[in-house]
């Protein structure tokens, strides 16, 4: 599909945000989450629980306290740009370590990004547990 220059710019900006966000998640940096998620975000975890931003921010502290060494990356990324809005779907791969054993879990995520005051932020985020064989269509 042909994209105009604005679409390409939006796609690049959002992909960079996503990559930087996933790289920072492991550190549990609250500032990164504050910037990434809009104040009015609707966030649904892979456990099927929907949260607002305050609840998302609370989970970061809890995650950091577990001393988790998990790292996150995105694969099979699909980006659909619309005017002032971008939908991103990807497979999130979580690599973790449990008693010295490497473990990998996969999730399908959809994020809806909105550009407000020149800044892209997530207004909807939804995660679902996926099997490792899941390949994006």
């Amino acid at each position: 599909m042909l994209r105009n220059r604005n679409d390409v710019t939006a796609m690049r900006a959002v992909l960079m945000l996503l990559r930087d966000f996933l790289a920072a998640v492991a550190q549990g940096d609250k500032e990164v989450f504050e910037r990434f998620f809009a104040d009015d975000v609707i966030y649904t975890s892979s456990a099927g629980v929907t949260m607002d931003k305050a609840a998302v921010m609370k989970t970061i502290g809890a995650h950091a306290e577990t001393g988790s060494k998990a790292t996150y990356r995105a694969e099979d990324i699909t980006v659909h740009p619309y005017e002032g809005m971008v939908v991103v779907n990807f497979r999130m791969v979580m690599d973790d370590e449990d008693d010295g054993r490497r473990e990998t879990a996969c999730f399908r995520n959809t994020g809806t990004f909105l550009k407000r005051s020149g800044q892209w932020q997530v207004v909807a985020w939804h995660a679902t547990k996926a099997s490792p064989e899941d390949v994006a269509k």
């Binding site: 939908v87 909105l114 679902t128 269509k137």
Partner: protein, 163 residues
């Protein structure tokens, strides 16, 4: 004592305040209208799902929709349509409803989150299960359609909508 200049200034301020109030009221009213429209669109769609009418799905989902099932598999519109008949044949007694609906309108785009209530029959027993769903709607040519949809199995006690 009011001079002509201070009266003019007061008049300009009053007009500006009225315009701001009118704009705020108009935004709130538009917000409520979108919430009503999308809630109805969602409820009509869910009520129609058991009929397995492909036209209903054609109308509800945009051609470029990204749809992620609760099994964690992402599909496109062609695959959604292909599965419509299969679902209707395999689960004829299953019905769907939405509760705890949250709508966040953003102009010609809106995010809708809700709990999907699934009433089904298993070995002659009625059972109810729940999913959490998020839909991103876009208004194109005057019609709201879904451009992103994702579903996740949810615990029964998750019954709160967020604002």
């Amino acid at each position: 004592m009011h001079t002509a200049k201070s009266i003019r200034l007061h008049s300009v301020r009053s007009t500006a305040l009225m315009l701001v109030l009118a704009f705020t009221t108009s935004c709130a009213s538009n917000h409520d209208q979108v919430t009503r429209d999308l809630t109805k669109r969602l409820q009509d769609f869910l009520a129609a799902v058991p009929r397995g009418d492909k036209q209903v799905f054609e109308d509800f989902f945009a051609d470029d929709v990204i749809y992620t099932r609760s099994a964690g598999v992402t599909v496109n519109k062609a695959e959604i349509i292909k599965n419509v008949g299969v679902r209707a044949a395999n689960e004829p007694a299953t019905t769907f409803a939405a509760d705890n609906i949250t709508v966040h309108p953003y102009g010609d785009m809106a995010v809708v989150n809700f709990r999907l209530v699934i009433h089904s029959e298993n070995k002659g027993q009625r059972e109810t299960t729940y999913n959490r769903n998020t839909g991103t709607f876009l208004k194109r040519n005057g019609k709201w359609q879904v451009v992103a949809w994702q579903s996740t199995k949810a615990p029964p006690e998750d019954a709160k909508a967020i604002k």
